[in-house]
Symmetry: C2
Subunit: 383 residues, 2 copies
Amino acid sequence: MSVTAAKGFTAAGIAAGIKENGNPDLALVVNNGPRLAAAGVFTANRVKAAPVLWSEQVLKGGLVSAVVLNSGGANACTGPLGFQDTHTTAEKAAEVLGHNAGEVAVASTGLIGIRLPMDRLLPGVERAAGELSEHGGEKAALAIKTTDTVHKTAVAGGEGWTVGGMAKGAGMLAPSLATMLVVLTTDADVDSPGLDAALREATRTTFDRIDSDGCLSTNDTVLLLASGASGITPGEAEFTEAVRAVCADLARQLIGDAEGASKDIRIEVVNAASEDDAVEVGRSIARNNLLKCAVHGEDPNWGRVLSAIGTTSAVFEPDRLNVAINGVWVCKGGSVGEDRELVDMRYREVVITADLAAGDASAVVWTNDLTADYVHENSAYSS
Amino acid sequence: MSVTAAKGFTAAGIAAGIKENGNPDLALVVNNGPRLAAAGVFTANRVKAAPVLWSEQVLKGGLVSAVVLNSGGANACTGPLGFQDTHTTAEKAAEVLGHNAGEVAVASTGLIGIRLPMDRLLPGVERAAGELSEHGGEKAALAIKTTDTVHKTAVAGGEGWTVGGMAKGAGMLAPSLATMLVVLTTDADVDSPGLDAALREATRTTFDRIDSDGCLSTNDTVLLLASGASGITPGEAEFTEAVRAVCADLARQLIGDAEGASKDIRIEVVNAASEDDAVEVGRSIARNNLLKCAVHGEDPNWGRVLSAIGTTSAVFEPDRLNVAINGVWVCKGGSVGEDRELVDMRYREVVITADLAAGDASAVVWTNDLTADYVHENSAYSS
């Protein structure tokens, strides 16, 4: 049901000809109100794509009436002319929808460093506006795919209200750099500050904790739009949990579709002195190429986990570290533990538990294995 | 000529049976004086192998009479018994050489988390002592290889004095985790503080700036031993430059032999606001898996360079960044520059120049491409 699961939203997805292969490449999501509240989080990369720079400005007003999304080009590192292209896109959408361009967000994904074909994109916006529908969520989700093998949608909610969403991305694994684009919609009656608080809390423990290859995109965008069409204002905790549930669902789908990956690795850091420590350790393990290769080879190589922990500033004593792989404590007290032959790593999901023995905080970070297919996909993309 | 190029040193390399395949695996380097001055730098990993913990203590005294090195096992994450093994190794060498065990450094490389076969190692130390020779440098360099395809030696010096050295390691690329072990020797008459100052300055801009896969070993060790046998005390700058030259030569050999690599990538960061900024940016580029894949595919994908720069805290403005690949400025002012088709990436060495347009500091960091062979070697090693 995607972004049209919540009342008050219409969407469309079409093939505008931005992609050479004729696949769908342009999505439009429209908030028909009565509210136009919105919140957004964007990439922390300091080199930001034009649509990110534009949408950050739009979100400062707290109102978003429509989102234009395209695949087939990231519009990143395209200079002032690229920014003008994004501006023109928003103006075109505003014109055909009768909206204010300052309330139209834009998101793009695809190759860096090439201009978008505006002669195809702008007519596409007009055509997409003509196809807007309360059932358009799936088509919109399809149109933002790049190297994704499947489109990603999720829904949650409470009594009488709904949060829905769509996502694209191969968990930052996609090439050049592909992008995590997410649009969430809700018919709950929540104002912009309320949306912002819920979205930041939800993304902090979901999208911020998937890290398939350590590469931070120039285009990452997560938007949450509220129409208020249900007339219901949920409790803050209940609403945040629904947003978090949709984000967690979509984040898990991103990891599951990461480019070239054959394993999804759930890294649980437990007994840390602080949540920050747990996240730092989880991320360090998630980014260790040698460990990611070992998991690919179904090799329970706990030494690489310890070595990754050792590069962090987290509170721990080396001789108190314990590591389990799929439930077998192969490392105890910083040294050899249970027999590594007991570890069964045949299945796609692999769980690595790192016990820091330093407190009671914890965190979960997801990553993927490193494979020859990843190398192949990312060495052969643009040339 | 390796570690016996300088006067006052003898060395040996033998097959002690630590490696199952019968290859050489034990090296001994002895300083016959008259001086026994030494300095060392060790891995920054907080999970340190037993020989690192031992040798750090030895170096605090500033005197090293001998170094025992083994391949075939890292003696990391082996607990108190593993530390005892290192201690016993030093005592055995001291006994057969008539030295003080507190002046015998130990270095190990190989798989993490397994005990060394002391029943083979200790007799090996005795046998190596019997084979010590002024011409033993090559044999010692051969005995510390793990996945290295070639042994690495280098020599520099001034009038009447010499700095020589040997290294093993595949630029931190080696599996599980392989280790960079380096022993440098000199017959210059320099005391321990002088050696320490020269070694830290030399490694800061050489070994510290090669980063083939971002993975920090538990065992990295670089030792510099002075015999004073030349009777000459070079000027501080001249001596430091000779040590730096040997380190730079060995570092370049490590990158050139990195596991699975098909390209050596020289990353030059120029016009940075500070040297720290330049190093941070160089390292970020060196660790970007997507860029490393692109270089493997001979794809001048400058967007991935910008994206890597964007994750740093260095001083720069995105729209003033320039990037050249093999001399072609494919990115100018943060956007498209010269035609990427002009870039020729057929040769093994690839030069990426990142111009931050923020000052006059610079740094060079070396890395390798990411290849399917790297994945294969590191997913199939211990299982």
